[in-house]
Symmetry: C2
Subunit: 327 residues, 2 copies
């Protein structure tokens, strides 16, 4: 029996819980019996013998969970084998997820996370700790949502030398640039509409300034190119100065403009708007993410998918869980 805890019970945490319920039979076939024995959000918790469906309903109704203990307390109150860590991202100090992941790994608990922050701040420390303790740290959901990147390169391209990885890692920016390309309207108008649609945050700076893409690039560089990159190593230019007129010029020559994140084996780390040929598979539209992986044997591999969303992120978390426990 795999005893699971979910820390962070917002969109992602609740999405994972829903999928665990909806796919219970399939998952039990794949990984054996399991049970969620602890949940925590930023101010409350639930643990012991509870009904997961009722917990989701309670959280939706009350905006919190029934008990007052906090996430950190649960390590001593309840015992579990797997921490699903889905707290909000802070790419500068990694907290609160960094503390939770560190504590779990120290205690020999497997971790699967959707939280970029801890991996950006302490990639090497956390991976070394997991190895030392003989436990797994899965982080497919931190990069590209349902678009496989980490396991794709480590498994499907096993044996390849990875030369370069570049592409679109932020769906909000891609949505803005796609609309600017097709409708020739300005940044301010698009961002307003994107906010109304829930595609952009109230404060969109994290996305449009390239911070989110840069954070994902650091994880990709450390995980797949063997670098020891820090967030500060990334040269970042956002998309706020791109105008519809720039697209006019680009389109006439057969190009569009996209926010491209690039890391290579020599340590180049850059996020910047770049011209992309319209016939290049990276010229994707809407909120899609897209990556080109250059490798010595496979030559060039593109992967394009949904970089965010409740079930899309859950898809990546579930695939990590199956990877750890598959029988």
């Amino acid at each position: 029996m795999i005893r699971m805890a979910i820390f962070g019970f917002g969109t992602v945490g609740k999405g994972v819980a829903e999928v665990l319920l909806k796919k219970e039979r399939l998952l039990k076939n794949l990984i054996g019996d399991f049970k969620v024995v602890a949940i925590a959000d930023s101010k409350s918790s639930l643990y012991g013998d509870f009904d997961l469906r009722e917990a989701i309903e309670y959280k939706i109704k009350h905006g919190r969970l029934p008990r007052d203990e906090r996430a950190r307390d649960l390590f001593d109150i309840e015992s579990f084998d797997l921490l699903i860590e889905a707290t909000p991202t802070n790419v500068f100090d990694g907290e609160p997820g960094l503390g939770y992941i560190r504590e779990a790994l120290k205690r020999g608990i497997n971790v699967v996370t959707s939280n970029k922050g801890p991996l950006v701040v302490a990639f090497k420390e956390l991976n070394d700790l997991a190895e030392k303790k003989g436990v797994h740290l899965g982080y497919e959901a931190t990069v590209g949502g349902a678009m496989p990147v980490i396991k794709l390169v480590k498994k499907d391209l096993a044996g390849n030398q990875i030369i370069k990885i570049l592409g679109i890692l932020n769906g909000t920016c891609n949505y803005i640039l796609s609309r600017m390309e097709s409708e020739k309207i300005g940044y301010d108008q698009i961002i307003l509409e994107a906010q109304q649609l829930g595609i952009a945050e109230a404060d969109p700076s994290y996305d449009v300034e390239g911070i989110d893409a840069a954070a994902k690039l650091v994880i990709i560089a450390n995980s797949l190119l063997g670098l020891d990159a820090k967030f500060e190593d990334v040269r970042i230019t956002g998309i706020k100065n791109i105008t519809p007129e720039a697209f006019d010029v680009a389109l006439k020559k057969g190009y569009t403009i996209r926010l491209i994140a690039e890391a290579d084996e020599d340590g180049k780390l850059e996020v910047a708007p770049r011209l992309v040929k319209l016939t290049n598979p990276l010229a994707v539209y809407g909120t899609l993410n897209a990556l080109l992986i250059k490798a010595d044997l496979a030559k060039e591999l593109f992967v394009i998918g949904r970089g965010a969303g409740k079930y899309e992120t859950a898809s990546a978390i579930i695939s990590d869980i199956i990877d750890i426990y598959a029988r």
Copy 2:
């Protein structure tokens, strides 16, 4: 020590041998010690204690291997743990690969193959046999070359229900249609030039009539959609009747034409030229392959890569070998 045999020593077999030599140290780190102890082509062989590099050189120089024993004889002459099966494809009777794979699995030998024929003719029989004998049958290289499909869906999308898989599975057809789109020249002229470039065979019917794409679709349908599909179940239309004028009409409306193979969970199996929006990631150019995988959680995932080529196919074979033996 993993003892390997390579059956089929043409482009693919030699490519795998070259990669085993070139990446010997990396691979030994990943899977432990290994050695190629037997090689066979259609009329000759080599076994025992030989130098793999010299074997490649001998084959290139003499067009055959030093010994007269045939592939089938090697099962009794030499003992090995892994058969790398890379003989030519026949999608109608599966031979000679089908006999080799069957014999290997019966003897408890793991098999990795790039040969579509045996999987198209006897997918269920071979997979059941592998399971019964507790050995592995890897066939990533049969579908899409270096473009991951089988392990991508089974591992990266583990937990997802696959609803539909569609896309471009034949690089020769895609090259022909791409050139027709961009240069407005006719089928006969393009096929002649493609033959000179080595992109099309002297008899291109296998590719342009959709047979190759249909064979790959059968493997995808059986492997990833849980169908029990036969080659005869696929409705096939080739590309020979497509004209440059058809592209004129399509392009004006924002579409191009591509040979699309499609399989869905309800058993639809079709290969036919179809209109594809120019902004759709499946609208790829040149010899690329491209697939769209629709799944319940991940929603839509595109993967685009090199569907053929010596090292590209070796990449898929090596990833299967690592998947079996990774420590």
